[in-house]
Amino acid sequence: MAEVLVAIRVVAYRELLRFVQEKSRLISSFAMPLLFLVIFGAGFTRSIGTMAPGVDFVQFMYPGIVAMTVLMNSVMSGLSVVWDREFGFLKEILVAPLARSGIVLGKAAGAAIVALLQGAVMLLLAPVVGVSLTPLLVLKLIPLLVIISLSLSGLGLLVASRMRSQQGFQLIVQLLVFPLIFLSGVFFPVNNVPAWLETVSKANPLTYGVDAIRQLFLAAEGGGAQAIGVTVFGHTMTVLQDISVVAAFGLVLLLLATWSFEKQE
Protein backbone atom coordinates (compact mmCIF):
# COMPACT_ATOMS: atom_id res chain seq x y z
CA MET A 1 0.00 0.00 0.00
CA ALA A 2 2.81 2.37 0.90
CA GLU A 3 4.27 1.73 -2.54
CA VAL A 4 1.03 2.84 -4.17
CA LEU A 5 0.84 6.05 -2.13
CA VAL A 6 4.50 6.96 -2.60
CA ALA A 7 4.11 6.33 -6.33
CA ILE A 8 1.03 8.54 -6.61
CA ARG A 9 2.73 11.34 -4.72
CA VAL A 10 6.07 11.28 -6.46
CA VAL A 11 4.68 10.81 -9.99
CA ALA A 12 2.05 13.53 -9.53
CA TYR A 13 4.70 15.83 -8.08
CA ARG A 14 6.80 15.49 -11.19
CA GLU A 15 3.81 16.04 -13.50
CA LEU A 16 3.22 19.36 -11.78
CA LEU A 17 6.89 20.31 -11.94
CA ARG A 18 6.85 19.60 -15.65
CA PHE A 19 3.61 21.48 -16.21
CA VAL A 20 4.87 24.62 -14.53
CA GLN A 21 7.97 24.53 -16.71
CA GLU A 22 6.21 23.99 -20.01
CA LYS A 23 4.74 27.31 -20.98
CA SER A 24 3.61 26.19 -24.42
CA ARG A 25 1.37 23.49 -22.98
CA LEU A 26 -0.11 26.00 -20.62
CA ILE A 27 -1.15 28.26 -23.46
CA SER A 28 -2.22 25.66 -26.01
CA SER A 29 -4.57 23.94 -23.62
CA PHE A 30 -6.63 27.13 -23.32
CA ALA A 31 -6.50 28.17 -26.93
CA MET A 32 -8.94 25.75 -28.48
CA PRO A 33 -11.76 25.83 -25.91
CA LEU A 34 -11.49 29.60 -25.86
CA LEU A 35 -11.72 29.77 -29.64
CA PHE A 36 -14.80 27.59 -29.61
CA LEU A 37 -16.40 29.71 -26.95
CA VAL A 38 -15.71 33.03 -28.64
CA ILE A 39 -16.33 32.08 -32.26
CA PHE A 40 -19.25 29.69 -31.83
CA GLY A 41 -20.72 31.95 -29.20
CA ALA A 42 -20.54 35.04 -31.40
CA GLY A 43 -21.65 33.17 -34.49
CA PHE A 44 -24.57 31.20 -33.19
CA THR A 45 -26.12 33.22 -30.38
CA ARG A 46 -28.27 35.43 -32.66
CA SER A 47 -29.39 32.75 -35.08
CA ILE A 48 -30.07 30.08 -32.48
CA GLY A 49 -31.62 32.21 -29.80
CA THR A 50 -32.65 30.46 -26.61
CA MET A 51 -32.06 26.76 -26.02
CA ALA A 52 -34.61 26.55 -23.22
CA PRO A 53 -36.56 29.13 -21.33
CA GLY A 54 -34.02 31.61 -20.00
CA VAL A 55 -30.96 29.81 -21.44
CA ASP A 56 -29.20 31.38 -24.44
CA PHE A 57 -26.63 29.55 -26.56
CA VAL A 58 -23.53 30.80 -24.76
CA GLN A 59 -24.99 29.91 -21.40
CA PHE A 60 -25.81 26.50 -22.84
CA MET A 61 -22.41 25.93 -24.40
CA TYR A 62 -20.21 27.39 -21.67
CA PRO A 63 -20.41 24.43 -19.22
CA GLY A 64 -19.57 22.14 -22.13
CA ILE A 65 -16.49 24.22 -22.91
CA VAL A 66 -15.33 23.82 -19.30
CA ALA A 67 -15.75 20.06 -19.70
CA MET A 68 -13.86 20.21 -22.97
CA THR A 69 -10.91 21.99 -21.35
CA VAL A 70 -10.75 19.28 -18.71
CA LEU A 71 -11.05 16.56 -21.34
CA MET A 72 -8.19 17.87 -23.47
CA ASN A 73 -5.82 18.14 -20.54
CA SER A 74 -6.75 14.83 -19.03
CA VAL A 75 -6.33 12.81 -22.20
CA MET A 76 -3.02 14.54 -22.82
CA SER A 77 -1.73 13.08 -19.54
CA GLY A 78 -1.02 9.99 -21.61
CA LEU A 79 1.35 12.02 -23.73
CA SER A 80 3.72 12.40 -20.79
CA VAL A 81 3.91 8.61 -20.51
CA VAL A 82 4.83 8.29 -24.17
CA TRP A 83 7.28 11.13 -23.76
CA ASP A 84 8.87 9.38 -20.76
CA ARG A 85 9.17 6.18 -22.72
CA GLU A 86 10.77 7.93 -25.69
CA PHE A 87 13.28 9.78 -23.55
CA GLY A 88 14.06 6.89 -21.24
CA PHE A 89 12.72 8.34 -18.01
CA LEU A 90 9.97 5.72 -17.85
CA LYS A 91 12.68 3.15 -17.09
CA GLU A 92 13.75 5.15 -14.04
CA ILE A 93 10.14 5.05 -12.85
CA LEU A 94 9.64 1.37 -13.65
CA VAL A 95 12.76 0.10 -11.81
CA ALA A 96 11.98 2.17 -8.72
CA PRO A 97 10.18 0.38 -5.87
CA LEU A 98 6.84 1.87 -6.93
CA ALA A 99 3.59 -0.01 -7.54
CA ARG A 100 2.44 0.08 -11.17
CA SER A 101 -1.08 1.02 -10.10
CA GLY A 102 0.40 3.92 -8.14
CA ILE A 103 2.30 5.10 -11.20
CA VAL A 104 -0.90 5.11 -13.26
CA LEU A 105 -2.87 6.84 -10.51
CA GLY A 106 -0.06 9.35 -10.00
CA LYS A 107 -0.14 10.30 -13.66
CA ALA A 108 -3.93 10.61 -13.47
CA ALA A 109 -3.74 12.65 -10.28
CA GLY A 110 -1.17 14.98 -11.82
CA ALA A 111 -3.44 15.44 -14.82
CA ALA A 112 -6.44 16.05 -12.57
CA ILE A 113 -4.67 18.81 -10.68
CA VAL A 114 -3.53 20.42 -13.91
CA ALA A 115 -7.02 20.09 -15.40
CA LEU A 116 -8.53 21.62 -12.29
CA LEU A 117 -6.21 24.61 -12.57
CA GLN A 118 -7.19 25.07 -16.19
CA GLY A 119 -10.84 24.54 -15.40
CA ALA A 120 -10.47 27.26 -12.78
CA VAL A 121 -9.13 29.68 -15.35
CA MET A 122 -12.11 28.90 -17.60
CA LEU A 123 -14.41 29.55 -14.66
CA LEU A 124 -12.91 32.99 -14.27
CA LEU A 125 -14.28 33.75 -17.72
CA ALA A 126 -17.83 32.94 -16.66
CA PRO A 127 -18.87 36.51 -15.81
CA VAL A 128 -17.37 37.71 -19.10
CA VAL A 129 -19.73 35.54 -21.17
CA GLY A 130 -22.70 36.33 -18.98
CA VAL A 131 -22.79 33.20 -16.87
CA SER A 132 -23.19 33.83 -13.18
CA LEU A 133 -20.93 32.05 -10.76
CA THR A 134 -21.54 31.58 -7.02
CA PRO A 135 -19.05 30.33 -4.42
CA LEU A 136 -21.34 27.36 -3.73
CA LEU A 137 -21.37 26.46 -7.41
CA VAL A 138 -17.56 26.55 -7.59
CA LEU A 139 -17.40 24.34 -4.51
CA LYS A 140 -19.69 21.80 -6.18
CA LEU A 141 -17.79 21.97 -9.45
CA ILE A 142 -14.37 21.12 -8.00
CA PRO A 143 -15.05 17.46 -7.07
CA LEU A 144 -16.99 17.04 -10.29
CA LEU A 145 -14.11 18.27 -12.44
CA VAL A 146 -11.69 16.06 -10.51
CA ILE A 147 -13.78 12.95 -11.18
CA ILE A 148 -14.20 13.78 -14.86
CA SER A 149 -10.50 14.46 -15.17
CA LEU A 150 -9.38 11.27 -13.41
CA SER A 151 -11.72 9.23 -15.61
CA LEU A 152 -10.56 10.74 -18.87
CA SER A 153 -6.91 10.47 -17.83
CA GLY A 154 -7.63 6.77 -17.69
CA LEU A 155 -8.44 6.93 -21.40
CA GLY A 156 -5.20 8.77 -22.21
CA LEU A 157 -3.13 6.43 -20.05
CA LEU A 158 -4.69 3.32 -21.55
CA VAL A 159 -3.84 4.49 -25.06
CA ALA A 160 -0.36 5.53 -23.90
CA SER A 161 0.43 2.30 -22.10
CA ARG A 162 1.44 0.65 -25.35
CA MET A 163 2.33 3.56 -27.64
CA ARG A 164 5.97 4.03 -28.55
CA SER A 165 5.91 7.37 -30.36
CA GLN A 166 4.42 10.73 -29.60
CA GLN A 167 3.15 11.13 -33.15
CA GLY A 168 1.31 7.83 -32.92
CA PHE A 169 -0.25 8.85 -29.64
CA GLN A 170 -1.33 12.26 -30.95
CA LEU A 171 -2.93 10.61 -33.95
CA ILE A 172 -4.96 8.14 -31.91
CA VAL A 173 -5.94 10.86 -29.46
CA GLN A 174 -7.18 13.14 -32.25
CA LEU A 175 -9.27 10.26 -33.55
CA LEU A 176 -10.76 9.76 -30.09
CA VAL A 177 -11.04 13.30 -28.78
CA PHE A 178 -12.97 14.93 -31.61
CA PRO A 179 -15.84 12.43 -31.73
CA LEU A 180 -15.92 12.46 -27.93
CA ILE A 181 -16.29 16.24 -27.88
CA PHE A 182 -18.73 16.65 -30.75
CA LEU A 183 -20.94 13.81 -29.54
CA SER A 184 -21.04 14.92 -25.94
CA GLY A 185 -23.74 17.54 -26.08
CA VAL A 186 -21.33 20.45 -25.79
CA PHE A 187 -22.78 22.16 -28.87
CA PHE A 188 -26.31 20.81 -29.06
CA PRO A 189 -28.70 19.01 -26.69
CA VAL A 190 -28.57 15.30 -27.36
CA ASN A 191 -32.25 14.68 -26.67
CA ASN A 192 -33.85 15.98 -29.85
CA VAL A 193 -31.46 14.88 -32.61
CA PRO A 194 -31.80 12.00 -35.12
CA ALA A 195 -32.03 8.65 -33.38
CA TRP A 196 -28.60 7.38 -34.52
CA LEU A 197 -26.90 10.54 -33.25
CA GLU A 198 -28.77 10.29 -29.99
CA THR A 199 -27.74 6.67 -29.48
CA VAL A 200 -24.06 7.39 -30.18
CA SER A 201 -24.07 10.48 -27.98
CA LYS A 202 -25.69 8.71 -25.07
CA ALA A 203 -23.13 5.92 -25.31
CA ASN A 204 -20.43 8.55 -24.87
CA PRO A 205 -19.49 8.84 -21.18
CA LEU A 206 -18.37 12.42 -21.65
CA THR A 207 -22.02 13.33 -22.36
CA TYR A 208 -22.79 12.68 -18.72
CA GLY A 209 -19.82 14.74 -17.57
CA VAL A 210 -21.01 17.67 -19.67
CA ASP A 211 -24.57 17.15 -18.45
CA ALA A 212 -23.51 17.17 -14.80
CA ILE A 213 -21.58 20.43 -15.17
CA ARG A 214 -24.42 22.01 -17.13
CA GLN A 215 -27.06 20.97 -14.60
CA LEU A 216 -25.06 22.58 -11.81
CA PHE A 217 -24.73 25.82 -13.76
CA LEU A 218 -28.35 25.97 -14.86
CA ALA A 219 -29.63 25.11 -11.41
CA ALA A 220 -27.61 28.06 -10.13
CA GLU A 221 -29.14 30.22 -12.87
CA GLY A 222 -32.52 29.12 -11.70
CA GLY A 223 -34.35 26.61 -13.86
CA GLY A 224 -34.09 25.49 -17.44
CA ALA A 225 -32.13 22.43 -16.48
CA GLN A 226 -35.05 20.05 -16.76
CA ALA A 227 -35.68 20.91 -20.38
CA ILE A 228 -32.11 20.17 -21.48
CA GLY A 229 -31.04 17.36 -19.13
CA VAL A 230 -30.00 14.11 -20.77
CA THR A 231 -32.69 11.45 -20.70
CA VAL A 232 -31.94 7.75 -20.79
CA PHE A 233 -34.93 5.48 -21.51
CA GLY A 234 -37.27 8.30 -20.60
CA HIS A 235 -35.50 9.03 -17.33
CA THR A 236 -33.84 12.41 -16.87
CA MET A 237 -30.38 11.89 -15.35
CA THR A 238 -29.65 13.62 -12.06
CA VAL A 239 -26.23 15.13 -11.36
CA LEU A 240 -25.34 12.25 -9.04
CA GLN A 241 -26.29 9.67 -11.65
CA ASP A 242 -24.26 11.52 -14.26
CA ILE A 243 -21.23 11.49 -11.99
CA SER A 244 -21.67 7.78 -11.30
CA VAL A 245 -21.60 6.99 -15.01
CA VAL A 246 -18.40 9.01 -15.48
CA ALA A 247 -16.77 7.50 -12.40
CA ALA A 248 -17.61 3.93 -13.42
CA PHE A 249 -16.24 4.58 -16.88
CA GLY A 250 -13.04 6.02 -15.38
CA LEU A 251 -12.59 3.16 -12.97
CA VAL A 252 -12.72 0.63 -15.79
CA LEU A 253 -10.24 2.65 -17.87
CA LEU A 254 -7.79 3.13 -15.00
CA LEU A 255 -7.94 -0.58 -14.18
CA LEU A 256 -7.32 -1.45 -17.82
CA ALA A 257 -4.43 1.03 -17.99
CA THR A 258 -2.85 -0.43 -14.84
CA TRP A 259 -3.29 -3.94 -16.16
CA SER A 260 -1.71 -2.94 -19.45
CA PHE A 261 1.29 -1.42 -17.65
CA GLU A 262 1.71 -4.44 -15.40
CA LYS A 263 1.71 -6.83 -18.30
CA GLN A 264 4.28 -5.15 -20.45
CA GLU A 265 7.95 -5.86 -20.06
Binding site: R14, G88, K91, E265
Partner: protein, 327 residues
Protein backbone atom coordinates in the same frame (compact mmCIF):
# COMPACT_ATOMS: atom_id res chain seq x y z
CA UNK B 1 35.22 -15.98 -1.58
CA UNK B 2 32.96 -13.66 0.40
CA UNK B 3 29.19 -14.15 0.69
CA UNK B 4 27.57 -14.05 -2.76
CA UNK B 5 25.30 -11.05 -3.25
CA UNK B 6 24.10 -12.03 -6.72
CA UNK B 7 23.23 -15.65 -7.41
CA UNK B 8 22.10 -16.79 -10.83
CA UNK B 9 21.18 -20.37 -11.67
CA UNK B 10 20.29 -21.69 -15.11
CA UNK B 11 18.78 -18.36 -16.05
CA UNK B 12 17.03 -18.36 -19.42
CA UNK B 13 15.20 -15.57 -21.27
CA UNK B 14 13.59 -15.88 -24.68
CA UNK B 15 12.14 -13.29 -27.02
CA UNK B 16 9.93 -15.24 -29.39
CA UNK B 17 12.18 -17.84 -30.94
CA UNK B 18 15.40 -16.06 -29.98
CA UNK B 19 17.06 -17.29 -26.80
CA UNK B 20 18.77 -14.13 -25.54
CA UNK B 21 20.09 -15.70 -22.34
CA UNK B 22 20.64 -19.45 -22.37
CA UNK B 23 20.80 -21.19 -18.95
CA UNK B 24 23.41 -18.88 -17.50
CA UNK B 25 24.78 -19.51 -13.99
CA UNK B 26 27.17 -17.39 -11.93
CA UNK B 27 27.60 -15.71 -8.58
CA UNK B 28 29.01 -12.34 -7.64
CA UNK B 29 30.61 -11.87 -4.23
CA UNK B 30 29.85 -8.94 -1.99
CA UNK B 31 32.18 -6.04 -2.74
CA UNK B 32 33.33 -7.52 -6.03
CA UNK B 33 33.79 -5.67 -9.31
CA UNK B 34 32.35 -8.13 -11.78
CA UNK B 35 32.23 -7.62 -15.54
CA UNK B 36 30.28 -9.20 -18.35
CA UNK B 37 32.28 -8.93 -21.53
CA UNK B 38 30.72 -9.63 -24.88
CA UNK B 39 29.57 -8.15 -28.19
CA UNK B 40 26.26 -6.36 -28.63
CA UNK B 41 23.40 -8.82 -28.63
CA UNK B 42 25.29 -11.34 -26.51
CA UNK B 43 22.71 -11.18 -23.73
CA UNK B 44 24.44 -8.78 -21.31
CA UNK B 45 21.68 -6.21 -21.11
CA UNK B 46 18.98 -8.87 -21.02
CA UNK B 47 20.69 -10.45 -18.01
CA UNK B 48 20.80 -7.07 -16.26
CA UNK B 49 17.16 -6.41 -17.09
CA UNK B 50 16.18 -9.72 -15.50
CA UNK B 51 18.33 -9.00 -12.43
CA UNK B 52 16.79 -5.54 -12.01
CA UNK B 53 13.22 -6.99 -12.35
CA UNK B 54 12.39 -5.27 -15.66
CA UNK B 55 12.10 -8.64 -17.41
CA UNK B 56 10.76 -11.93 -16.12
CA UNK B 57 12.97 -14.95 -16.75
CA UNK B 58 11.61 -17.84 -18.82
CA UNK B 59 13.52 -20.36 -16.72
CA UNK B 60 15.98 -20.70 -13.87
CA UNK B 61 16.23 -18.41 -10.88
CA UNK B 62 18.18 -15.37 -9.78
CA UNK B 63 18.52 -13.47 -6.54
CA UNK B 64 20.08 -10.16 -5.59
CA UNK B 65 20.97 -9.35 -2.00
CA UNK B 66 19.14 -12.52 -1.00
CA UNK B 67 15.87 -11.49 -2.68
CA UNK B 68 14.32 -13.39 -5.56
CA UNK B 69 13.98 -11.27 -8.70
CA UNK B 70 10.52 -12.65 -9.51
CA UNK B 71 8.81 -12.99 -6.14
CA UNK B 72 10.50 -10.18 -4.18
CA UNK B 73 10.75 -7.48 -6.79
CA UNK B 74 10.40 -4.49 -4.50
CA UNK B 75 13.14 -5.71 -2.18
CA UNK B 76 15.42 -6.29 -5.15
CA UNK B 77 14.67 -2.81 -6.51
CA UNK B 78 15.55 -1.20 -3.21
CA UNK B 79 18.85 -3.11 -3.09
CA UNK B 80 20.17 -1.98 -6.45
CA UNK B 81 21.26 1.14 -8.27
CA UNK B 82 21.17 1.26 -12.04
CA UNK B 83 22.88 3.11 -14.84
CA UNK B 84 21.48 2.07 -18.20
CA UNK B 85 23.06 2.34 -21.62
CA UNK B 86 20.72 5.13 -22.63
CA UNK B 87 20.01 8.13 -20.46
CA UNK B 88 17.00 7.78 -18.18
CA UNK B 89 17.06 11.35 -16.89
CA UNK B 90 14.25 13.87 -17.25
CA UNK B 91 16.05 16.42 -19.36
CA UNK B 92 13.55 19.17 -18.65
CA UNK B 93 14.18 19.01 -14.92
CA UNK B 94 17.31 20.24 -13.19
CA UNK B 95 20.01 17.93 -11.85
CA UNK B 96 18.70 18.54 -8.37
CA UNK B 97 15.08 17.83 -9.32
CA UNK B 98 16.08 14.56 -10.96
CA UNK B 99 17.89 13.49 -7.81
CA UNK B 100 15.01 14.55 -5.59
CA UNK B 101 12.50 12.58 -7.62
CA UNK B 102 14.69 9.53 -7.14
CA UNK B 103 15.09 10.16 -3.42
CA UNK B 104 11.32 10.44 -2.94
CA UNK B 105 10.63 7.35 -5.04
CA UNK B 106 13.10 5.28 -2.99
CA UNK B 107 11.95 6.86 0.26
CA UNK B 108 15.32 8.25 1.29
CA UNK B 109 14.66 9.87 4.71
CA UNK B 110 14.17 13.64 4.45
CA UNK B 111 16.89 14.41 7.03
CA UNK B 112 19.65 12.74 5.01
CA UNK B 113 18.27 13.40 1.53
CA UNK B 114 19.59 16.94 0.94
CA UNK B 115 22.93 16.11 2.48
CA UNK B 116 23.41 13.03 0.31
CA UNK B 117 22.41 14.95 -2.82
CA UNK B 118 25.07 17.52 -1.95
CA UNK B 119 27.73 14.88 -1.30
CA UNK B 120 27.04 12.90 -4.45
CA UNK B 121 26.98 15.98 -6.68
CA UNK B 122 30.31 16.89 -5.14
CA UNK B 123 31.65 13.42 -5.85
CA UNK B 124 30.74 13.51 -9.55
CA UNK B 125 31.85 17.15 -9.79
CA UNK B 126 28.47 18.56 -10.71
CA UNK B 127 27.89 20.77 -7.66
CA UNK B 128 28.10 23.93 -9.73
CA UNK B 129 25.44 22.61 -12.14
CA UNK B 130 23.01 21.62 -9.43
CA UNK B 131 20.28 23.96 -10.64
CA UNK B 132 20.88 23.58 -14.37
CA UNK B 133 18.48 21.68 -16.54
CA UNK B 134 19.84 18.31 -17.63
CA UNK B 135 19.08 19.28 -21.24
CA UNK B 136 22.13 21.53 -21.14
CA UNK B 137 24.49 18.73 -20.00
CA UNK B 138 27.08 16.92 -22.12
CA UNK B 139 26.95 13.14 -22.49
CA UNK B 140 29.63 12.64 -19.87
CA UNK B 141 27.90 14.93 -17.38
CA UNK B 142 24.61 13.09 -17.82
CA UNK B 143 26.31 9.78 -17.18
CA UNK B 144 27.97 11.14 -14.06
CA UNK B 145 24.64 12.46 -12.82
CA UNK B 146 23.09 9.04 -13.43
CA UNK B 147 25.83 7.37 -11.43
CA UNK B 148 25.21 9.79 -8.58
CA UNK B 149 21.48 9.12 -8.81
CA UNK B 150 22.04 5.35 -8.81
CA UNK B 151 23.84 5.68 -5.48
CA UNK B 152 21.41 8.07 -3.82
CA UNK B 153 19.43 5.38 -2.01
CA UNK B 154 22.62 3.61 -0.80
CA UNK B 155 22.14 0.41 -2.83
CA UNK B 156 24.11 -2.76 -2.13
CA UNK B 157 24.81 -3.43 -5.80
CA UNK B 158 25.40 -0.94 -8.59
CA UNK B 159 24.60 -2.16 -12.12
CA UNK B 160 26.42 -0.34 -14.89
CA UNK B 161 25.23 -1.30 -18.35
CA UNK B 162 27.89 -0.10 -20.79
CA UNK B 163 28.52 2.99 -18.65
CA UNK B 164 30.84 4.65 -21.14
CA UNK B 165 29.10 3.76 -24.40
CA UNK B 166 29.19 6.62 -26.87
CA UNK B 167 31.58 8.76 -24.83
CA UNK B 168 34.92 10.04 -26.02
CA UNK B 169 38.10 8.46 -24.57
CA UNK B 170 38.83 11.34 -22.24
CA UNK B 171 35.34 11.30 -20.77
CA UNK B 172 35.51 7.53 -20.49
CA UNK B 173 38.63 7.79 -18.37
CA UNK B 174 36.99 10.44 -16.24
CA UNK B 175 33.90 8.30 -15.61
CA UNK B 176 36.11 5.41 -14.65
CA UNK B 177 37.98 7.48 -12.12
CA UNK B 178 34.64 8.20 -10.51
CA UNK B 179 33.52 4.59 -10.53
CA UNK B 180 36.76 3.35 -8.95
CA UNK B 181 36.72 6.13 -6.35
CA UNK B 182 33.17 5.24 -5.43
CA UNK B 183 34.04 1.63 -5.02
CA UNK B 184 36.84 2.44 -2.65
CA UNK B 185 34.66 4.76 -0.57
CA UNK B 186 31.55 2.65 -0.32
CA UNK B 187 32.82 -0.92 -0.67
CA UNK B 188 30.11 -1.31 -3.26
CA UNK B 189 29.46 -4.40 -5.38
CA UNK B 190 29.58 -3.39 -9.02
CA UNK B 191 28.12 -5.43 -11.87
CA UNK B 192 29.39 -4.07 -15.16
CA UNK B 193 28.72 -4.94 -18.76
CA UNK B 194 31.03 -3.76 -21.46
CA UNK B 195 32.46 -4.57 -24.83
CA UNK B 196 35.62 -2.58 -24.14
CA UNK B 197 38.56 -4.81 -23.21
CA UNK B 198 40.31 -2.22 -21.07
CA UNK B 199 37.19 -1.77 -18.95
CA UNK B 200 36.90 -5.51 -18.35
CA UNK B 201 40.60 -5.60 -17.35
CA UNK B 202 39.79 -3.51 -14.28
CA UNK B 203 37.29 -6.10 -13.02
CA UNK B 204 38.19 -8.71 -10.45
CA UNK B 205 36.38 -11.39 -12.40
CA UNK B 206 35.19 -11.38 -15.98
CA UNK B 207 32.41 -13.46 -17.46
CA UNK B 208 32.79 -13.78 -21.20
CA UNK B 209 29.37 -14.04 -22.78
CA UNK B 210 28.47 -14.82 -26.37
CA UNK B 211 25.14 -15.83 -27.94
CA UNK B 212 23.50 -15.89 -24.51
CA UNK B 213 25.99 -18.28 -22.93
CA UNK B 214 28.89 -17.75 -20.55
CA UNK B 215 31.89 -19.26 -22.30
CA UNK B 216 34.45 -18.48 -19.58
CA UNK B 217 34.47 -16.92 -16.14
CA UNK B 218 37.62 -16.11 -14.21
CA UNK B 219 40.02 -13.33 -13.25
CA UNK B 220 41.46 -11.46 -16.24
CA UNK B 221 44.94 -12.87 -15.46
CA UNK B 222 43.76 -16.45 -15.29
CA UNK B 223 41.83 -16.06 -18.50
CA UNK B 224 44.91 -14.75 -20.27
CA UNK B 225 47.21 -17.39 -18.74
CA UNK B 226 44.88 -20.07 -20.04
CA UNK B 227 45.73 -18.90 -23.55
CA UNK B 228 49.06 -20.67 -23.22
CA UNK B 229 51.67 -18.01 -23.92
CA UNK B 230 52.02 -15.19 -26.42
CA UNK B 231 49.87 -14.25 -29.38
CA UNK B 232 51.38 -14.25 -32.83
CA UNK B 233 49.53 -12.65 -35.71
CA UNK B 234 50.45 -13.23 -39.31
CA UNK B 235 49.01 -11.47 -42.30
CA UNK B 236 49.82 -13.60 -45.32
CA UNK B 237 49.05 -12.85 -48.95
CA UNK B 238 47.07 -16.09 -48.97
CA UNK B 239 45.80 -16.68 -45.47
CA UNK B 240 44.28 -20.06 -46.29
CA UNK B 241 47.52 -21.47 -47.62
CA UNK B 242 49.46 -20.01 -44.70
CA UNK B 243 47.01 -21.45 -42.21
CA UNK B 244 47.35 -24.89 -43.73
CA UNK B 245 51.11 -24.60 -43.66
CA UNK B 246 51.16 -23.47 -40.03
CA UNK B 247 49.01 -26.43 -39.07
CA UNK B 248 51.28 -28.81 -40.89
CA UNK B 249 54.61 -27.51 -39.64
CA UNK B 250 53.82 -26.20 -36.15
CA UNK B 251 50.62 -28.00 -35.22
CA UNK B 252 48.61 -24.84 -34.53
CA UNK B 253 45.11 -23.97 -35.74
CA UNK B 254 45.05 -20.19 -36.23
CA UNK B 255 41.89 -18.12 -35.78
CA UNK B 256 40.92 -15.30 -38.18
CA UNK B 257 40.95 -11.76 -36.87
CA UNK B 258 40.47 -8.72 -39.10
CA UNK B 259 42.03 -10.41 -42.13
CA UNK B 260 44.96 -11.86 -40.21
CA UNK B 261 45.76 -15.23 -38.67
CA UNK B 262 46.35 -15.39 -34.95
CA UNK B 263 47.37 -18.16 -32.59
CA UNK B 264 49.10 -18.43 -29.27
CA UNK B 265 52.31 -20.29 -28.43
CA UNK B 266 54.56 -20.41 -25.40
CA UNK B 267 57.73 -18.30 -25.78
CA UNK B 268 56.51 -16.47 -28.84
CA UNK B 269 59.66 -14.37 -29.09
CA UNK B 270 61.70 -17.51 -29.80
CA UNK B 271 59.16 -19.24 -32.02
CA UNK B 272 58.35 -16.30 -34.31
CA UNK B 273 61.74 -16.16 -36.14
CA UNK B 274 61.54 -19.88 -36.88
CA UNK B 275 58.06 -19.52 -38.25
CA UNK B 276 59.00 -16.70 -40.57
CA UNK B 277 62.00 -18.60 -41.85
CA UNK B 278 60.12 -21.75 -42.62
CA UNK B 279 56.89 -20.35 -44.07
CA UNK B 280 56.72 -20.66 -47.82
CA UNK B 281 53.60 -18.50 -48.27
CA UNK B 282 54.53 -14.84 -48.71
CA UNK B 283 53.93 -12.89 -45.49
CA UNK B 284 52.91 -9.19 -45.43
CA UNK B 285 53.06 -8.48 -41.71
CA UNK B 286 53.69 -10.21 -38.39
CA UNK B 287 52.97 -9.29 -34.79
CA UNK B 288 53.81 -10.60 -31.33
CA UNK B 289 52.17 -9.60 -28.04
CA UNK B 290 51.02 -10.69 -24.64
CA UNK B 291 47.48 -12.00 -24.86
CA UNK B 292 44.63 -9.58 -24.17
CA UNK B 293 41.06 -10.33 -23.22
CA UNK B 294 40.24 -9.79 -26.87
CA UNK B 295 42.45 -12.78 -27.69
CA UNK B 296 40.72 -14.79 -25.02
CA UNK B 297 37.39 -13.86 -26.51
CA UNK B 298 38.56 -14.70 -30.03
CA UNK B 299 39.90 -18.05 -28.95
CA UNK B 300 36.80 -19.03 -27.02
CA UNK B 301 34.20 -17.89 -29.53
CA UNK B 302 36.05 -18.06 -32.83
CA UNK B 303 35.23 -14.45 -33.71
CA UNK B 304 36.37 -11.00 -32.63
CA UNK B 305 34.14 -8.78 -30.48
CA UNK B 306 34.49 -5.83 -32.81
CA UNK B 307 33.52 -7.61 -36.02
CA UNK B 308 30.02 -8.22 -34.70
CA UNK B 309 29.21 -4.72 -33.71
CA UNK B 310 30.04 -3.23 -37.10
CA UNK B 311 26.97 -1.81 -38.78
CA UNK B 312 26.15 -2.88 -42.34
CA UNK B 313 27.88 0.16 -43.79
CA UNK B 314 31.07 -0.46 -41.86
CA UNK B 315 30.90 -4.05 -43.01
CA UNK B 316 30.56 -2.99 -46.61
CA UNK B 317 33.41 -0.55 -46.26
CA UNK B 318 35.65 -3.15 -44.70
CA UNK B 319 34.72 -5.54 -47.49
CA UNK B 320 35.58 -2.96 -50.13
CA UNK B 321 38.87 -2.20 -48.42
CA UNK B 322 39.80 -5.84 -48.23
CA UNK B 323 38.78 -6.84 -51.71
CA UNK B 324 39.36 -3.61 -53.53
CA UNK B 325 43.11 -3.84 -53.08
CA UNK B 326 45.13 -4.97 -56.08
CA UNK B 327 42.56 -3.96 -58.69
Amino acid sequence: MAQPIIEVEQLTKRFGTLTAVDSVSFTVAEGELFAFLGPNGAGKTTTINVLCTLLRPAGGRASVNGFDVVTQRSDVRRSIGLVFQDSTLDEYLTAEQNLRFHAYAYRVPRQVCEQRIGELLELVELSDRRKSRVRTFSGGMKRRLEIARGLLHSPRVLFLDEPTLGLDPQTRRHIWEHILALRKQHGLTIFLTTHYMDEAEVAERVGIIDHGRIVALDTPDHLKDAMGGDVITIEARDNDAAAAELGQKFGVTPARENGALSFSVPHGDKVLPRIIRSLESPVDAVGLRRPTLEDVFLRLTGHAIREQEADPFDGARAFMARHGRGH
